[in-house]
Amino acid sequence: MADKKHKLLEVKGLTMDFGGLRAVDSVSLEIHEGEIAALIGPNGAGKTTFFNCVTGIYNPTKGDVLLHPKGLKTRRLNGLKPNKVTEMGLARTFQNIRLFQEMTVLENVMIGRHCRTKSGIFRSIIRDKSVREEERQIVETSYRLLEKVGLEDFANEFSKNLPYGAQRRLEIARAMATDPFLLLLDEPAAGMNPQETDELVHLIRKISSEDKIAILLIEHDMKLVMNISDPIYVMEYGKKIAEGTPQQIKDNPKVIEAYLGDDDDA
């Protein structure tokens, strides 16, 4: 079934060394159109480092990150700057929320539109008609995204004043404003209560089905992962130790061992 779908992201043998430490050790994975994939594993398994390598924040030591946008040429992402990666259609959120605190909620989302718009300094000073029109569109798109994540009532609040769960949803809205076809979510449910988590599941499903955006998420909440993702990739000590459907992962002895060995998670 999976092989019929268009392959969007292909990571081959990704390796990242920090000094003598190998944080990610030849990990390969593929994300297809319409998938909600998950990357799980104990703390310190190298999941976030993997994200950082894919999104250009780190330059991987070895391996390939290939992006196959639909109808466009394949692009190799290694060594590209993060902003170029985002321009290619791959957006992300952060594990330790990184919002622009002194900006309003709406402005945070508007930043996401930056790479899809183009008025420069001089035109911003003159503020001609097309600039005003572009600005109007930025506000409109951003506002719709806020509605999608249920934050439209806070549009003009400073983002630092939002409750924790709302900040996570705002990060998702901001990432979506960059018009991605693949969204990388780094622990989107961390610190959320069960009700907020339910809303998040609903939101992720909606993004996947309505906006046709493929999703790769890192998550520790196993209930959430088993509930929405397929396929699931498991990492431990920088290596990929398993992949498969939720059922396959649940039954995989290696995975069970990895998790039983580390009581913090599960």
Binding site: F18, T48, N52, I57, Y58, F94
Partner: protein, 300 residues
């Protein structure tokens, strides 16, 4: 050849002073990632206090090396007190604030202390008594290296050895290194981080004061502004060697001292400061981690 040696020793002397001040920058930066802009002012205050003590002593009839030692001790005590207060007033309330805030506070403190000395004392250059006598045994080589230079070299050398021992061997030194590596972790294992930070400022200030007294008695004058330029240059030395690294500060200081000395001696002394800042800019662009610094990745 003699000219070369003269420049060599001149650079060495200069460089060892830079190294002494640079240590204060590097230690503070290593622990709280702050360029302590007011560090140069501590150096200047050290020199001023020494001048005042020496002045009183001379007027009341004391003389010779005893003045130098007394003035040096009082200067170090006061510099430590200023360094401690500086951290407590201007930096501690800003822990956890955005990165630019403590830096601006430091610049403010630097301006404040300069003008404080200017108003309390004088805007003019004050003559600093020559406290280091000319040793007879130095006579034959005096045109290459004088007695003051010798004293400076020996003092800085001994000070640095003491500092290294303190950091490598003592409990406090261990706690300092732990705090530098990971402040939260150090706190968890029972290190009193606030005290360690205060201590870092105190040690750095003491080193700066020693440098201040030596330079002032070598050059023979001080004013409220001498700390600023010395501070910026010493910071350059710290960056050159790799900020956060103690041997780096020493190497950086010496390299900068020689670079300035030779550039001024062989090219032009008018542009001495341009060489220094040019070097700083080049280093920061080409190798921001410095000579001995490690290239670290920012955690995301």
């Amino acid at each position: 050849m003699e000219y070369f040696l003269e420049l060599f020793f001149g650079g060495l002397t200069r460089g060892s002073i830079y190294a002494l001040i640079a240590l204060g920058y590097t230690m503070v930066y290593g622990i709280i990632q702050l360029i302590n802009f007011a560090h140069g002012e501590i150096y200047m205050i050290g020199a001023f206090v020494a001048l005042i003590v020496a002045g009183i002593c001379t007027i009341y009839g004391l003389s010779g090396v005893s003045i130098l030692i007394l003035a040096g001790i009082v200067a170090v005590i006061y510099a430590c007190a200023y360094g401690y207060t500086l951290e407590k007033v201007a930096y501690r309330p800003l822990r956890g604030a955005p990165r630019l805030s403590p830096l601006i506070s430091a610049i403010g403190m630097s301006i404040f202390l300069q003008n404080y000395v200017l108003l309390a004392q004088t805007p003019d250059f004050l003559p600093f008594p020559r406290l280091i006598p000319d040793f007879a045994f130095m006579e034959p080589v005096a045109h290459i290296i004088g007695s003051p230079e010798l004293v400076i070299l020996i003092t800085t050398f001994v000070t640095m050895i003491l500092l290294t021992l303190l950091i490598k061997k003592s409990r406090v030194g261990k706690a300092m290194r732990a705090t530098q590596q990971d402040m939260d972790m150090a706190r968890l294992v029972g290190v009193n981080v606030d005290r360690i930070i205060s201590l870092t400022f105190i040690i750095g200030s003491a080193l700066a004061a020693i440098g201040g007294v030596l330079v002032a008695s070598y050059i023979g004058q001080v004013n409220f502004y001498v700390g600023f330029l010395a501070g910026v240059k010493a910071f350059t030395a710290a960056v050159l060697g790799g900020i956060g690294s103690i041997p780096g500060a020493v190497i950086g200081g010496l390299v900068l001292g020689w670079a300035e000395s030779f550039a001024a001696g062989y090219i032009s002394s008018d542009y001495e400061d341009v060489f220094t800042f040019g070097l700083l800019i080049l280093i920061l662009i080409l190798r921001p981690a410095g000579i001995l610094g490690k290239v670290t990745k920012q955690k995301v």
